[in-house]
């Protein structure tokens, strides 16, 4: 288990390196620079600015300097938010994105798993059909459509909930629901599919044959087995959801880290964009690893040595 973790972590290093390299050179080779939008400054000042941020050095030197810095945990100053370092901006935004994302994932997991499992148990019933149609809607309709529609109906027309902002419980409801809906849909479909397969499995037949009640069979045997594909789905999805949805944060004006990405790129805020990309990649890798480590707890056939 320990050596497995070490091996996986070692395997993640080249991946992170490739991501950093692609992002770094793509950003730097693109036209435009971080100081373009400011009032035109005399050439000397421009040169001084660039020297201060080491932008005048050859690209490879800058890249090596950047790699050296992030190894010591220094992601550099933001080019746009002058008095902040990238680390500070991420530390400010991440708790917001994390709370929003975790709330959405918890709801998605409970609702999606329950609905999917129940639909499988009552196969071909009205509940099954309704759940699967709703799930298809959740998958087909993107959240940049769902979020404005929710805002329009519940926020504007019925005036039940605030349409934006962040801080109070009321303000969190719409973004959490909009964020959770597609995940509910995916989890429900996944659970239903795997539950149907599990219900045909030999161990379920054995459980029934030894006289276990349907209820005990489902609770003690089937649900655990049906949860496996959901578990693998949860890793990358949770990582993506807690690192901030660009769309949801923009629509509801939420101060998470999702908005830093697009705004940062538009502002040519090199260091901030790099920081977000690296952060995102590391969270994804960490969650995938976490899921793989948890897997043996749910499925005794899987062992890491």
């Amino acid at each position: 288990m320990f050596s497995y973790t070490l091996r996986r972590l070692a395997g993640a290093v080249p991946t992170v390196f490739v991501i950093i390299a692609i992002a770094f050179f793509m950003i730097r080779l693109a036209p435009g620079g971080p100081f373009d939008q400011e009032r035109s400054v005399p050439a000397e000042i421009q040169a001084n600015l660039e020297r201060a941020y080491h932008l005048d050095e050859p690209l490879t030197t800058q890249f090596l300097r950047y790699l050296g810095n992030i190894l010591t945990g220094d992601f550099g100053p933001s080019f746009r938010y002058k008095d902040f370092t990238v680390t500070e901006l991420l530390a400010d935004g991440f708790p917001v994105s994390l709370k929003l994302g975790l709330a959405a994932m918890v709801i998605a997991l409970i609702v999606g798993f329950a609905a999917g499992a129940y639909a499988a148990l009552r196969r071909n019933s009205a509940f099954d059909a309704a759940t699967m149609t709703l799930a298809m809607t959740g998958i087909a309709v993107p959240n940049f459509v769902v979020a404005p529609l929710l805002t329009l109906t519940l926020g504007v027309w019925l005036a039940l909930l605030p349409v934006g902002g962040w801080g109070s419980f009321d303000q969190a409801i719409l973004p959490v629901v909009a964020l959770a809906m597609p995940e509910i849909a995916y989890i429900a479909r996944l659970t239903r599919g795997s539950m149907l397969e599990v219900l045909r499995a030999d161990f379920v037949r054995t459980a029934r044959a030894k006289g276990l009640s349907e209820r005990a069979m489902v609770l003690r045997h089937a649900l655990q087995a049906a949860a496996l594909p959901v578990l693998s789905f949860l890793g990358p999805t949770t990582a993506a959801v807690i690192t901030g949805s660009v769309v949801i944060e923009q629509i509801f004006g939420i101060p998470g880290i999702g908005r830093h990405f697009v705004q940062g790129a538009l502002n040519r805020d090199y260091t901030l964009v790099m920081g977000v990309v690296i952060f995102y990649a590391v969270v994804i890798i960490a969650f995938n690893l976490l899921v793989d480590l948890l897997y043996p707890l749910f499925d005794p056939r899987v062992r890491h040595d």
Partner: protein
């Protein structure tokens, strides 16, 4: 019994066709999608209002006999703009999917057929690419290198072929061991000919299913980029652009949000149903 055996054998494709025709959701979806596609192809040519015509007497006007879906903040007819936008969204979806299918099939079939070190190397490359946060890279690409349609469609196609390559490789590995492929070898067919003539045609089923499910994903991604202001630019429009404009004007002009949202959702819905239907038809095992 004897009559039944004497009946001409039905090909698996025919069986699949019969199963698909029995799937009401998929058939309805096909009809709806065909109607939307036809409208996108025809309406812009025959419409009373050109894409950019401004009706000064109807700025941000609600739906009326004159403007069926109302007008936007510049007095442009939404009915016409939605179908212009649909052209872009559907064309991009199909074109990028085609790119993804070509790259994915070529890559996956080569890796699966070659096997050994070549396979290991090619699939390792796919694994590394898989770990990249692609949405971020496409956004960066669009921000830094201009909001160019060709670039966007290449980017969308380039990020969608990975799953295709994996599916095709898996299928190729099983096909490779089948008797008819061995027979082709025994008769002296060159490897390229075996892949092109015998492997690829037998991959069509899973490829068709996956392609149908890729089109809505690409349309969604294009709309997302356009929604963020990074995709299709004025004066052209797409469903994502229209939804974004509608979302910012929804309090005063809800029709600007509702109509494009309904069209995008219906199209994605239909494509997903068709994809599911195809999968069930081609692969009769339960899902």
């Amino acid at each position: 019994m004897i009559e039944a055996l004497a009946a001409p054998p039905r090909s698996p494709w025919r069986d699949a066709g019969v199963r698909l025709l029995r799937n009401r959701a998929a058939i309805v979806s096909c009809v709806v999608l065909a109607m939307i596609a036809a409208a996108c192809a025809l309406v812009p040519s025959f419409a009373q209002w050109p894409l950019d015509a401004v009706d000064w007497s109807a700025i941000q006007a609600p739906p009326s006999a004159e403007h069926w879906f109302g007008t936007d903040g510049n007095g442009r007819d939404l009915f016409v703009r939605i179908f212009y936008g649909g052209r872009i969204s559907l064309t991009l979806g199909l074109a990028a999917t085609l790119v993804a299918v070509i790259i994915g099939v070529a890559w996956g079939a080569t890796a699966g057929y070659a096997g050994g070190a070549v396979d290991g190397l090619m699939m390792r490359a796919v694994d590394v690419l898989y770990a990249l946060p692609f949405m971020f890279f496409v956004i960066l690409l669009m921000v830094f290198f201009g909001r160019d349609m060709v670039l966007m469609f290449i980017a969308l196609g380039a990020v969608s072929w990975l799953d295709m390559a994996r599916i095709v490789r898996g299928q190729t590995l099983t096909l490779k061991r089948r008797e008819f492929v061995r027979a082709a070898h025994a008769m002296g067919a060159r490897p390229t000919a075996v892949v092109v003539r015998h492997i690829v045609p037998n991959l069509l089923g899973p490829v068709a299913v996956f392609a149908t499910l890729t089109v809505p994903r690409v349309i969604l991604f294009e709309s997302l980029l356009s929604f963020l202001g990074l995709g299709v630019q004025e004066p052209m429009t797409s469903w994502g652009v229209l939804i974004s404009e509608g979302a910012s004007a929804m309090e005063s002009a809800p029709w600007m949000l509702l109509f494009p949202a309904v069209f995008l959702a219906t199209t994605l819905f239909a494509l997903n149903f068709i994809g599911d239907g195809l999968r069930d038809a081609l692969d009769p095992r339960d899902h």
